[in-house]
Symmetry: C2
Subunit: 473 residues, 2 copies
């Protein structure tokens, strides 16, 4: 049977604020080493599963991040863009529709994009065993053997051992799922040896999970039946949008697996973590002899057991003990190590204050490149805009602002009203309010411009897109 | 006898980095409440000593800060600009030259510009007593009654009590000066009741201190004799520069007072502090019920006994204990409370790294207004420039950069080569490399422009000043 992989790369992230943002969540961050968690997830399985059988489910507005991150590591995959997030049952189901059209007999490995696995060889070997079980009809989940009483994870309690396991690897029926427990229950679970962390890693035959969805989530199943024939048709996008708007948000664990008799759990010791809080990042990072993890621009005097992350500004630290400092261009977190699990509720409070740093990173990625807001004030905004070679913004106009552009690197091709201009470094132009315009980079080097906006209203929503190569009109 | 005051406002500050910078030291910072320490020093004595007898000695490049800070509180004074810092003996001597020309019989009160006095009434009453003593020929110093064993201050050990003190206030001869002691000596000093902190507050007759300088620092005395006749002459500036270049850097305490038999000390309980480290700022600030001092943009969860200073960015803190966090646009300090006295040596290390945040604040004040660097990169720099009403930059040109200007508020009057332009909001111009230009604000509102510089070299020293109303040509 052909093996496919589905990487679930949707969903926002708040617990690693201020580095993670709603619009730039954890899976895209290079938290440990040079690759992002998404990139690592791809690299981990690329020997086992080739690009044409690799599916990445993500949010519409994040699909170009996925594309660009895959490109950066010389990989590709099939990106499935959801019109909105509807939890893992819908994401798994949608991917299964795609896979079934190509390989009705496929076995699928489901992988979250935002987890850390320290022992990739052990992981791959377990996945091989799981595939063998899945081929025989089981829904297989990896159960991470816990090494501490963690209250932030869900647990799986094992049942009877399977007698017909395909290898040396022991496999169990599943007795029950437990949501995030309190600390005393968590300790009891760990001590018992019968509980595992639910890592959201699953292996099954596509036809089997479809049957189980039909049995336990009939509304989702019906929705998928509407979607399946529309795939690759002109009305695919509209159909998806219509069906998704009506779907309930439910996880595959809660909606299907908990209710299925086919579920088995395979204990796994693979150095797994969801890197869900800053103290965990600290724990999994390479620490110096004092237990510190310090960015290169940090000057430290005798701190201990602390993580100090800098985006490049000068940071000096003296005598920190068990601290987390995370500095980004527009927001700073300083937190005691033992309280990093409260960052989620902190972000809630920031949201209530209307704090924009929760949603948008200082550097906003776009399909054509990125922009960074350098300063915002009454009736003005200054941005640095980077357009990658071959990239171009939409043909657009703004009703309430005008823009001044100064090229600081590369060559800009500009449509401005009825004119076309070519500007090099140290040249500038002016886009009056209401004038249609487009900025493109036909060169081979990145184009950078400084944009000075003036006007009474400078919101990003003051944009009328007339043409767009990325389909955003 | 007419009473004069000399405020010593020279000198840099490193111990409150990153808020204080070499080019914007402590005396100009509003550390507690709305006024800077310099402004508070002026406000404290303005009822006793009028503007025409108030002298402020400062560094040449900081004299416009002094002027603008005095203006902001509706005050003025006579600013004496030193061509370079030569410690307090030279500063005191130079001020004495000025004062002697106006009032040969003057009594002078010498006040550091960067200290905090919690009890201004008690302070003024002591100064009155000190003036009475000084009129009779004494060199009077206030000795602060210590309330803790502080190793960061110099101490004065008292000698025999004076029997002819002019009021109820007890006064002592001075037995010796002690430099910053170690902690056990400091404890012993405080317990003895015979030691005071040296606050650098002195009262004397100008003629008496001049005699003492002549006796103990003959080289300085000779220099002052060269300077005195040149004051208010065309060659004043050149003479000052020439003489200062040859002066030794010595404090008035060490160079004169320690050696003088006329010195007396007047114990003072005036809530004094030099606010010389961050933990002292915390101690003297209004704290909330948990002992915290938090800027308005800080969102805190259950921190204790901590100071968190924000320049406006989003800062979130969780569970801090006895911490100092000071965030500025270009540098961040995170420090354990008990180690803030190490900031000075930290700054040494930053200097050794070539870190620019030691010298220059992110917002640089100029006689005509200020500028803020928004971003700097290879071959470009973006600034926001504010020109105050009536202000104007020098007529200048740059050899290695060109500049693009976009007006974002106010009205700009611009000389550009042979043209004169008037630009309003949303208008722009371009100053090519080598073109002479001037930017002025003839309006009544502040003028703000965004400047985009491009060029191979963007240092501030690439400036040729052709004309300048502030005498900087």
């Amino acid at each position: 049977m052909p093996i496919h992989a589905v990487i679930l790369a949707g969903g926002g992230g708040r617990r690693l604020w201020p580095l993670s943002r709603t619009l730039y969540p954890k899976q895209f961050l290079a938290l440990l080493g040079e690759h992002s968690l998404l990139q690592r997830t791809v690299l981990r399985i690329h020997d086992m599963i080739p690009a044409e059988r690799l599916w990445i489910v993500t949010a519409q507005e994040q699909s170009f991040y996925v594309q660009s991150q895959l490109g950066d590591i010389g990989h590709s995959g099939r990106i499935i863009a959801e019109p909105q997030g509807r939890n893992t049952a819908a994401a798994v189901g949608l991917a299964a529709c795609h896979i079934q059209q190509r390989d009705p007999e496929a076995v699928t490995v489901v992988l979250p994009a935002d987890h850390w696995i320290k022992k990739p060889q052990e992981f791959l070997s377990l996945i091989q065993d799981a595939i063998a079980l899945a081929e025989r009809g089981a829904l297989v989940t990896l159960g991470i053997i816990p090494d501490q009483a963690e209250t932030g994870y869900g647990y799986i309690c094992r049942g009877e051992p399977l007698t017909n396991a395909p290898s040396e690897q022991s496999v169990y029926a599943v007795s029950r799922f437990v949501e995030k427990p309190n600390i005393s229950d968590a300790r009891r679970y760990v001590d018992s040896g019968e509980y595992y962390w639910n890592a959201g890693i699953f292996v099954w035959r596509t036809s089997v999970i479809m049957d189980e969805i039909a049995a336990h989530l009939p509304a989702l199943s019906q929705g998928l039946e509407e979607i399946a024939p529309a795939l690759h048709r002109a009305d695919e996008k509209d159909t998806l949008k219509r069906v998704y708007a009506q779907l309930a948000s439910v996880s595959i664990d809660h909606g299907v697996l908990e209710k299925s008799s086919r579920l088995v759990v395979m204990p796994a010791a693979i150095g797994w973590s969801d890197l869900g809080k800053w103290s965990t990042i600290h724990q999994f990072s390479d620490q110096d002899e004092r237990g510190n993890v310090l960015s290169p621009s940090v000057l430290d005097i005798e701190s201990e057991n602390s993580l100090v992350y800098s985006s490049g500004r000068t940071i000096a630290t003296i005598g920190l003990k068990n601290m987390i400092v995370v500095d980004t261009p527009d927001a700073l977190l300083v937190c005691a190590q033992e309280r990093t699990s409260e960052v989620g509720s902190l972000v809630q409070q920031l949201l209530a204050r209307g704090d924009q740093t929760v949603h948008t990173p200082n550097m906003v990625r776009r399909p054509w490149g990125s922009y960074t807001v350098l300063e915002e004030g009454p009736q003005f905004k200054v941005k640095r805009i980077v357009v990658e070679p071959g990239g171009g913004l939409s043909l657009q106009r703004h009703r309430r602002r005008s823009e001044h552009w100064v090229v600081i690197s590369g060559v800009a091709t500009i449509i401005r009203g009825e004119e076309e201009l070519t500007l090099g470094v140290d040249q500038s132009t002016y886009i009056p309010q209401g004038t249609k315009h487009r900025l493109s980079n036909r060169g081979t080097q990145p184009l950078q411009i400084i944009e000075v906006q003036t006007g009474a209203y400078l919101g990003e929503d003051d944009i009328e897109r007339l043409e767009d190569v990325y389909g955003r009109v």
